[in-house]
């Protein structure tokens, strides 16, 4: 008979068997038994955040940059509710998180006890699944199932709520694997059929205006998927565009890459999506920031959609060939079959797509990411470009907050490897980037980690600088400071007659002094001449840095697809705004 151990010990045994190295958390009354047990398990290191939301985003940054699940430990009541934003963020962006929360003792559940809340009720819609553990003998099975649910299929967050008495109680521990597969009787696994692959190849061969449209699914499938994607794209010679979450799966500086698509995507990517005759969607979900007006989305194309989540297919856009599969598996199978039957496809097909490439080059000539630079004031796009040029030779990891700076980072920072770009896309969580950078740095000690931030976003989770200092994590917080909630101000300018209602932040802190008070380094750049030198200074400091980059207050993020418009009606820059607003009257 196996030895009986306490619930708290079972938690750590499960974490050890799942090879968890780091947990991010914050203690409190209802998880104290688990925290007490921490000292006996040296292989599991705890990172103390300053707020549970920060712990959650740090776990997300850790997970997205390493491919391993992030683990979060919080107390009951406010501990759990503070984690809800991070859980929802992870749910929207398919990040594997396992959140362990304390709960009041079983006999007090339902009595409105101190720091009690219905954690499983609150987190039900923002997790893949959650459990309230009522019997200590269920604990090990639930914990291992939790890891399995979080990391299989489309990844996502899960939560295990453990009442305090269960943490004390003694029970049996068992390491159980593949619970889901057994239970669902193979339902979760789909097999690729040669028929689908042949249909896929047929569509590729018939097309004269093709485009690859790839997303976060490629990243989530693991680094091999990016390798195969590169092979397939070079085999076919087709153009490729990527969603916000997919950046890095394909090299950003490759001539076949058209840049990001969507609301703030490039002119060439969006027009190619609109005019193509074959759209190959690999691991993207036809999000509303991508499609614009659904009725007029890419009207003339055949569409292929590869996704591991069957419910993502056909949700927003009808497709002609749907394949439920892991991206790596699909690409591997497809490339093998494609090569067998289509030797020398690239050369023989060049003629067929040459007109399409000519058209794409015409769109490219618009240089939609251009901006009018200045020698007096730092333009935010220029700041991102300089940051890119000065950091591209290091293996740099970039996180962002949410807003204009995020879009400028996506447009002007070119990623060449997967898992180097961590941004909150689905939920759009301001305050994501700083704690995420902490998680990334934990997973990749010695690497350069930069949070491209806005001053409004970063203040939402600024307290986590204290975490960075405590664990000596030399993250760089690169703030594009325009004193506005820039994206809010931009929408107010374009849609609400420049009524800048509450989007200006008066009484901002002095970020350099703030950095000093946290015990890290503060750097400020005010003019374009000093920018490079200051960025180099930031990179060379081996401590956490808050970089206050004072930028043009009125710069807007272009190009842009205005609301309710199809892809081929982008606003390219400020000089075009008036013209489009007239046209808009007819359209909406």
């Amino acid at each position: 008979m196996s030895k009986l151990i306490t619930g708290a010990e079972i938690v750590f045994k499960a974490l050890e068997d799942q090879k968890v190295e780091y947990i991010f958390g914050y203690p409190g009354g209802a998880v104290l038994p688990i925290y007490d047990e921490l000292k006996n398990h040296k292989s599991v290191k705890h990172i103390l955040a300053r707020h549970e939301q920060g712990a959650g985003h740090a776990a997300e940054g850790y997970a997205r940059s390493s491919g391993k699940p992030g683990v979060l430990l919080v107390t009951s009541g406010p501990g759990a509710t503070n984690a809800v934003t991070a859980l929802t963020d992870a749910y929207m962006d398919s990040v594997p998180l396992v959140c362990i929360s304390g709960q009041v003792p079983t006999h007090l559940i339902g009595t409105d006890a101190f720091q009690e809340c219905d954690t499983t009720g609150i987190t039900r819609p923002c997790t893949k699944h959650n459990w309230l553990v009522k019997d200590v003998n269920d604990l090990s099975r639930i914990l291992h199932l939790a890891f399995e649910v979080a990391t299989t299929g489309r990844p996502g967050p899960v939560l295990v709520d453990i009442p305090k008495d269960i943490q004390f109680k003694k029970g049996k521990y068992k390491f159980v694997k593949n619970i889901l597969r057994k239970k669902l009787n193979g339902k979760a696994t789909y097999k690729l059929s040669n028929k689908d692959l042949d249909k896929f190849i047929e569509l590729i061969k018939k097309s004269s205006k093709p485009i690859f449209y790839t997303g976060g699914g490629v990243i989530n499938s693991g680094p091999e998927a990016s390798k195969y994607l590169r092979e397939l794209v070079s085999l076919t010679g087709f153009p490729i565009t990527s969603t916000l979450q997919g950046l890095g799966a394909y090299p950003g500086d490759d001539p076949q890459f058209l840049g990001m698509l969507g609301m703030h995507g490039t002119f060439e990517a969006n027009n190619a999506m609109h005019d193509c005759d074959l759209m190959i969607n690999i691991g993207a979900r036809f999000d509303d920031r991508i499609t614009g007006k659904v009725d007029e989305f890419s009207p003339k194309s055949k569409k292929i959609h590869v996704d591991i989540d069957p419910s993502s297919i056909g949700k927003n856009i009808k497709v002609d060939l749907a394949i439920v599969s892991d991206v790596t598996e699909l690409l591997k199978g497809l490339i093998k079959r494609f090569k067998e039957k289509n030797k020398n496809f690239l050369n023989s097909n060049k003629q067929k797509t040459s007109k399409w490439w000519e058209q794409i080059d015409k769109w490219r000539e618009k240089k939609s990411l251009n901006f009018i630079n200045s020698d007096k004031i730092i333009k935010p796009q220029h700041a991102v470009q300089r940051l890119y040029e000065l950091t591209k030779d290091n293996d740099t990891f970039i996180t962002t907050e949410v807003g204009q700076h995020q879009m400028w980072a996506a447009q002007h920072y070119k990623f060449n490897k997967p898992n180097r770009w961590m941004t909150s896309g689905g939920l759009g969580t301001m305050g994501y980037g700083l704690p995420a950078a902490i998680g990334v740095q934990i997973a990749h000690p010695g690497k350069l980690v930069v949070d491209i931030a806005g001053e409004a976003s970063v203040l939402m989770t600024m307290q986590e600088m204290s975490t960075a200092v405590q664990y000596k994590l030399p993250i760089k917080i690169f703030i594009l400071n325009n004193e506005y909630m820039g994206m809010v101000r931009q929408w107010q300018e374009l849609l609400h007659e420049k009524n800048y209602s509450e989007s200006y932040t008066a009484a901002l802190p002095d970020f350099v002094k703030l950095a000093e008070s946290y015990g890290c380094v503060g750097i400020r750049a005010k003019t374009p001449d000093e920018l490079d030198e200051k960025i180099k200074e930031m990179i060379n400091v081996q401590r956490p840095v808050i970089f206050d980059c004072v930028v043009d207050k009125s710069e807007n993020c272009f190009p842009m697809i205005p609301s309710g418009k199809p892809h081929n009606q982008m606003i390219l820059g400020p000089e075009e705004e008036e013209e489009i607003s007239d046209e808009g009257k007819i359209l909406v």
């Binding site: 659904v294 009725d295 069957p310 949700k315 009257k585």
Partner: protein, 182 residues
């Protein structure tokens, strides 16, 4: 027309609505009904009726029958979303007008009526497997099993005869012949 003042796209055309019966097999565990109901409310789907009970005591499997309405794409989404839930084993889907499926709802009516009126009530309910569950000098409780529309009509007819209380279940469903749902 004014410009859209939203950063979201305007709604497109809505397709034709269809009524479907979904049968869902789930683990009978705490919170499973909240998961199903939350999925419907959270994604803006519609539940017209719902019937749940454990059907396998050993394996703790419950069978949930949901009547819902939506465009074909929405119905497809509902099915796919349901299948993603961890405690869900399988989902079967039928159109309301499918000839091979049997549907029944059960209703209890309490009517204030003397013995003369009670005979009348029995007559009205005759086609719908009436069972008198309780009888007194001035009242009767009668059980019927029928389709939703029939029960609606019965309720209207009984109103004139002194109906004071109705209790109804959601629809349950089963296939005709030897085959079972899969």
């Amino acid at each position: 027309m004014p410009r859209s003042k939203s950063a979201y796209s305007v709604p497109g055309k809505i397709g034709k609505l269809e009524r479907h019966i979904l049968v869902v097999w789930v683990d009978n565990e705490a919170g499973v009904l909240a998961r199903i109901a939350g999925l419907f409310s959270g994604r803006g789907y519609n539940i017209e009726s719902l019937a749940v009970a454990e059907v396998d005591k050993k394996k703790h499997i419950s069978r949930i029958t949901i009547v819902t309405e939506g465009t074909p794409q929405v119905i497809e989404q509902i099915k796919l979303q349901l299948k993603k839930l961890v405690p869900v084993h399988k989902v079967a889907d039928f159109k309301r007008n499918d000839k091979d499926i049997l549907f029944r709802e059960l209703a209890l009516f309490k009517v204030l009526a003397n013995s003369k009126k009670q005979e009348k009530i029995k007559k009205i309910c005759k086609k719908f497997n009436p069972v008198i569950l309780d009888k007194s000098k001035e009242s009767v409780v009668i059980q019927v099993t029928a389709l939703r529309a029939d029960i609606d009509k019965l309720a209207l007819d009984l109103k004139r005869l002194g109906l004071i209380s109705i209790s109804r279940t959601g629809a349950v469903a089963m296939t005709k012949g030897a085959k079972i749902f899969s």
